[in-house]
């Protein structure tokens, strides 16, 4: 089938098999390797992307479902410089192997679009569908908290 969608601000037209997963389409056909395959069943969040600004799991979507949608991956999140979340993930040591990081940041970035100053409980709840096995969650929560403050001009 012919598929038209917007990927990180660019229009994309591709011919795809209707059985292909959105995750495979992005990684194998579009060269977008930010979204990772972890569990492949919706439990780890490593494949999280935005569809029309809402975080979804690209391992549980068919490529066909991208038709007419606006798709944002970690590659499209940064504008002129890295997103504050990307900067504070580095600063706070919230990245080790980095496998969970793109999904974790997409989830956290959507939270920061609704909640300008989330408390730690809200951050923990928001990222409860994203699993990290090496840095642990403490530094990730610190990074999200600091990024939120920086975005409100409360932190350099």
């Amino acid at each position: 089938m012919q598929l038209n969608f917007e990927l990180n601000g660019q229009p994309v037209t591709l011919f795809v098999d209707g059985a292909m997963r959105a995750l495979d389409l992005l990684r194998e056909r579009c060269g977008i390797t930010g979204p990772k395959e972890g569990c492949g069943s919706g439990e780890c969040g490593a494949c999280a992307i935005w569809i029309d600004g809402v975080t979804k799991l690209s391992c549980l979507m068919l490529a066909a479902q991208l038709q007419g949608r606006t798709v944002t991956t970690i590659e499209g999140l940064a504008k002129d410089e890295p997103h504050p979340l990307q900067q504070f993930f580095v600063k706070k040591g919230a990245v080790q192997c980095g496998y969970c990081t793109p999904g974790m940041i997409m989830t956290a970035a959507e939270l920061l679009t609704h909640e300008k100053m989330p408390d730690r409980e809200m951050i923990r709840n928001a990222i409860s569908g994203n699993i990290c096995r090496c840095t642990g969650y403490h530094k990730i929560v610190d990074a999200v908290e600091d990024a939120a403050e920086a975005m409100q001009g409360l932190k350099p």
């Binding site: 209707g18 919706g42 439990e43 999280a48 799991l57 979507m61 569908g129």
Partner: protein
């Protein structure tokens, strides 16, 4: 595999007419996982996500009508649900994870018909009815009739679950839902309990109780409900009702818990209602 995304119900009926082997898909969070495990694909998949008629929440004279395609996140954010159906709101907040709730729908949770379906105990107590749509017209069924067993419903060929109606209920002043799982997020219920009570002057006037994950479908115990009615919510009363609940459930043993453990917890959860 052919994947179609109709935008109107008329287009959907047209597809069903030409694609007898269709399989409808709502949020896909159960179906796509199962397809990955079984390595089996239906010849045609019809995604319902673009059909606007399935995506509204309305308050009418008959109650609150929820489109089957409304996502669980949309329900959590909706004022009508927060204000009028707190027990459903709590149940949804325990389902999956925020990412799963961004994709999964209420209709999908019902049609999957899992004994552990997190929205089901609350919907049973609220007297929910489902409206099934097809090009032959609509039909309405009580939810507890629609769900027949694990993964089994009365959904016919070329028919979809269109909306869920929650009739205006009596004013309950205790709305309780609790799910016991192996962790907080993304846990399948080992046992869950939904309770709606009308309590006046400390005495229970009416009780509705439903358990999840302790039988082939949701289990309601009229005996346990009766044991609370006309009495105060003391531990003695609740212990008696808990015994009746333990004999009403018929759990299985699986990787998550033994039948014996589930039976004990099903009763114990009632003790949380003590005041």
């Amino acid at each position: 595999m052919i994947t179609l995304l109709p935008e109107t119900l008329e287009d959907l009926w047209e597809i069903f007419h030409h694609q007898p082997d269709y399989k409808p898909m709502a949020g896909g969070t159960d179906l796509l996982v199962r397809m990955g495990v079984d390595k089996k694909q239906p010849p045609a998949l019809v995604c319902l996500e673009k059909i606007h008629d399935l995506k509204t929440i309305k308050k009418t004279r008959d109650g609150i009508r929820i489109g089957s395609g409304v996502t669980l996140t949309e329900l959590l954010k909706n004022d009508l649900i927060q204000e009028n159906l707190p027990i459903l709101h709590t149940a949804i907040s325990t389902l999956g994870s925020p990412l799963i709730r961004n994709m999964g729908t209420l209709g999908g949770n019902i049609c999957t018909a899992s004994p552990a379906g997190d929205t089901l105990p609350a919907l049973y107590l609220l007297g929910a009815r489902v409206t099934l749509y097809s090009d032959r017209g609509n039909r309405i069924l009580p939810l507890d009739e629609f769900i027949q067993g694990p993964g089994r419903t009365l959904l016919a060929d070329k028919e979809i679950l269109g909306s869920i109606l929650i009739p205006p209920g009596d004013r309950f002043n205790v709305h309780h839902f609790e799910k016991v799982g192996q962790r907080k997020a993304l846990a399948i219920a080992v046992v869950s309990l939904a309770a709606l009570l009308k309590v006046h002057g400390g005495v229970v006037e009416e009780a509705r109780l439903a358990w999840g994950s302790v039988g082939p479908t949701i289990v309601r115990s009229r005996e346990a409900e009766k044991a609370l009615e006309g009495r105060k919510l003391t531990l003695t009363t609740l212990n008696h009702a808990a015994d009746l609940a333990r004999s009403a459930v018929s759990p299985i043993s699986d990787v998550r818990a033994s039948a014996d453990y589930r039976r004990r917890v099903a009763g114990n959860l009632l003790l949380r209602l003590a005041v």
